[in-house]
């Protein structure tokens, strides 16, 4: 085999001795194109056909903006809640041995498996003003079902396993000696958690957050039951898309979808950049 001549220009770096790099890369690109890129570009194609002024008018429609705000806002809050409690659940599952641990561990995956509509109906029944929990919360002035709070509750339910399942394996790999080292150096339990454990978990927690967030933005099934779907109050963007479709208003539907796509992409990109940065630092 001869070495590549200098004038060959930019070449793929041979990543390993295992052959098939070209084949697998080609396949991956073709597959991603087929599964993700073509449908999404179709979406952009359709909304591009709309023309810039029409698109802008639809995009800045107050109802659309409000729906997007609710979708992204609730997804963000729910993901944040999940980061806190999901990390806690992962901690309990990894660090403690108690009867029923395996059952709890299995239970974490239920939101993955349950049809989201079932989850939505169950939550609505619970949190409705006449439901078990709703009845208790009503006197406190807390209305959950049919408000944005209800959306958050549903999204917390849906997003929990994403955080637990990304943080858990990394937590299991944490070296106990590192904590012992911190303790001998005089760090209190609290300092060990905030200065040693959480920073090493940060990349996993960020991944969990972005997964839960992305899932929350796109969630439809469970939310529509509990949200009440009042325009400007508790109407999420995916629902607005469906409403526009039912009105045969395809341009408006695609416009909202395109905006959601762009926003999600930007946010996930930012999260990914944060992650690359932290990976680089923490090796």
């Amino acid at each position: 085999m001869t070495t590549a001549p200098a004038h060959a220009g930019w070449r793929f770096r041979q990543p390993s001795v295992i052959p098939g790099f070209g084949l697998t890369l080609g396949f991956s690109l073709a597959y991603l194109t087929l599964i993700i890129l073509i449908p999404l570009s179709g979406l952009i194609w359709r909304s591009a056909a709309l023309g810039w002024t029409d698109f802008w008018a639809l995009a800045t429609d107050r109802r659309t903006l409000k729906a997007l705000e609710i979708s992204f806002g609730t997804a963000f809050i729910a993901a944040a809640v999940n980061v806190v409690f999901g990390t806690l659940v992962a901690w309990v599952l990894v660090r403690y041995r108690f009867p029923g641990r395996r059952v709890v561990d299995a239970m974490v995956d239920l939101p993955f498996a349950l049809p989201t509509a079932v989850a939505g109906i169950a939550l609505t029944t619970l949190y409705a003003p006449t439901g078990w929990l709703g009845k208790l919360l009503m006197p406190l002035g807390l209305k959950v079902a049919y408000t944005p709070l209800g959306i958050i509750v549903a999204l917390v339910f849906i997003g929990l396993p994403f955080v637990v399942r990304t943080v858990q394996p990394i937590m299991e790999e944490l070296d106990k000696e590192v904590e012992e080292a911190a303790a001998t150096l005089g760090a209190s339990r609290f300092q060990i958690i905030t200065r040693v454990l959480l920073p090493s978990l940060a990349p996993a927690i960020i991944t969990g957050f972005s997964l839960a967030f992305a899932r929350g933005v796109g969630e439809y099934g469970s939310v529509i039951f509990i949200a009440g779907n009042l325009p400007y109050k508790s109407e999420i963007a995916p629902l607005l898309i469906v409403i526009r479709l039912e009105e045969y208003n395809y341009p408006a539907a695609t416009a909202i979808a395109a905006i959601m796509l762009a926003l999600s992409f930007v946010m996930l990109l930012v999260i990914n950049l944060v992650q690359t940065w932290s990976r680089k630092r923490y090796g």
Binding site: V178, A181, L185, A202
Partner: protein
Amino acid sequence: MEVRVVNVRKEFERFPALHDVSLDIKSGELIALLGPSGSGKTTLLRLIAGLERPTKGAIFFGEEDASQKSIQERNVGFVFQHYALFRHMTVADNIGFGLKVRHGAARPSGQEIRRRALELLDLVQLSGLEKRYPAQLSGGQRQRVALARAMAIEPKVLLLDEPFGALDAQVRRELRRWLREIHDRTGHTTVFVTHDQEEALELADRVVVMSQGRIEQVGTADDIYDTPNSPFVYSFIGESSSLPVKVENGEVWIADRPIGLEAPHAPSGEAILYFRPHDVDLLDGCSGCIAGTVAASRRVAGTRRVELEIGGERQRVEIELPIDHPAAQKSRVAFRPRRWKLFPTA
């Protein structure tokens, strides 16, 4: 700081890891805990650090009963075999960690912490690497950072758990010499665990030989090597050969012949004779000696090591011969140990 371990017993879920261990460590001493795996040496070190609590007994730092204190209060520097560095912190932040987590007046200013970190980095000969992350360092460099981090808190005792265990032979030797230098310069009372006897004998002021949760012998390298006080120490430290013998009237016998060794104080009965393979006198004739036929012979560096079959019971012992010795396979060799010890068979 002087450290006293008093009648400490440690059980892990009913399984005893240490039986009634006592040990006095003088201030400024460099002590090695040496033993095979499972001998309890790491457990003893972790007890001193406070990473484990004794089932019974106490550990004193000076006059203070340290066993009543938490790990954080004990102020010990602990170095782990696998470094246990904080991988999300730079080298400088790692070293400064112990100072940064202090509260109130005990915490030095940020500038002071940085100055101390750089100073220690200089001491462990890693100047200029303060901005690196642990992942960007070699094993030997990481262990130096770990040591600097442990020393930053001005510990009462420095404890090292197989500090060179994960490093290759070349780096080990280098770091060993370097650790001795650092110890001589800083004067910390230091205890380190190792299963490498060469490391223990070369580096430590005193060596604590441990086996099966007990201390077998404590002494300088010379004490341990020249006057081992138990069959375990004799066979664990250095090379040794052993033979079953009988003691009668203050004389040592093998089978039906005396071998010319006088043991006036040894009790009569069965015993085992221990000696070093290199510590023997070769004899020509044999009236009162150990004689055997050469069963195997190996060249070891500057000498020749032969295995002799002794007597009818086919006991094998190893001795060292000069390389020009004409001993061939099956030829007869007679010798008498120059220095030896008898341990009665229990």
